[in-house]
Amino acid sequence: MQTETEWKFTAKDIAEKPDLFLSGHRACAGCGPATVLRLIMKAVRGPTIVTNATGCMEVVSSIYPYTSWAVPWLHTAFENAAANASGIDAALKILKKKRRIKHEHVDIIALAGDGGTYDIGIQALSGAVERGHDFLYVLYDNEAYMNTGIQRSGGTPLGASTTTSPAGTVIPGKLEHKKPIADIMVAHDMPYVATASPYYWRDLLVKVRKGLEVNGPAFLHVFAPCPRGWRSDPAKSIELSRLAVETCIFPLWEAVNGDYQLSTPSKVFALAPQKKKPVKEYLQVQGRFRHLFTPKFEKLTEEIQRVTDERWKRLLKKCGVEQRAKTTA
């Protein structure tokens, strides 16, 4: 196993590496998940098989007869990403036993959106993890079912207006909070769980590689802004993924064998709380939270801030980081 410093993840090396997620896919302009996938496919180490649940990234990358994947790629149904991965793992095991493949090790990446993980795929994922198959599960979280027209999922945050939780005069968008999926996966006693954001690309690549090198299942929760569903400017997709970390709405951490550890981009805000930005800054640039800035639903932003702070505090406690007293407060 290579150490972290031996991995060549400088911008130049990454740029020189050939794309395994080809251009010419039909994602919207400014698609966050497409950037995420391009970056993830730059971190693979050898022969890789990708399996994909139904979702935006499955649809835009495999419009018949074109494929954007330069690696073997498999798709079945919405709930099956993890089940597919465990099937591939079992098949590889028996092929290796019969000496039918020449590769010593083949990496398996299972890809799914938040709908295919939070709601539909969690049963298959939980089962695959429990059986201990060796694969990396990547959840690209764009916070709703964007592929079918922006319906709310378990990953949609409080107050977000979607087509099945529309903001009106009575209801202020979605009424429930986001499900802490990564914590649920940590509770499975997995060898590796992490959250990542495309703005901190090196952090993301290192986490992908760590997840692939680990023996057994690994889970990666990647934040992936969707300009279409979030009603944001396509040019701001990467900026939003930075803001989410800076406001601590989406903190970056990893849990190796259940031990929480804060990643460097988030550690900055733990050690210097005055740098942490208010949640409003993140909400303001998105059209799906537009109604939160009307007098009627104004209180909801305070509620979002409160829950964000609460979760952030709880995370710091888990990571064993002591937050210094706020200097400004």
Binding site: A11, K12, I14, A15, E16, D19, F21, L22, S23, G24, H25, R26, A27, C28, A29, G30, C31, G32, A34, T35, R38, L39, S61, S62, I63, Y64, P65, Y66, T67, S68, A70, P198, W201, P227, D233, P234, A235, K236, S237, I238, E239
Partner: protein
């Protein structure tokens, strides 16, 4: 660019849902309204635009030591212009 019905009959294509063409044959550049134009003097070659482009439309050419825009695939989203630390990229109406 686009597949015509005559290209392959059903007997010749691969079975049930197997995609056989690389999507690089499908040029997505005709979507764009704005196109990125780079100021060569301001550019520091930090390569952030290459990493953040969702379409892989910006290539790093090691032999030239410079980056190159591939307008065949660029959808004109403006992420490169927004993320450029030197503000060297400008989105211009095509």
């Amino acid at each position: 660019m686009r597949v015509t019905a005559k290209e392959k009959s059903w007997k010749e294509i691969s079975p049930a849902g197997v995609c056989w063409k690389a999507s690089t044959q499908f040029l997505t550049g005709d979507w764009k309204t704005y196109k990125p134009v780079r100021d060569l003097e301001k550019c520091t070659r930090c390569l952030l635009c290459v990493l953040f482009c969702p379409d892989g439309a910006i290539h790093w050419k090691p032999e030239k030591g410079d980056i190159e825009f591939d307008y065949n695939f660029c959808k004109g989203c403006g992420i490169c212009a927004n993320e450029c630390p030197a503000k060297a990229i400008e989105m211009k109406l095509e």
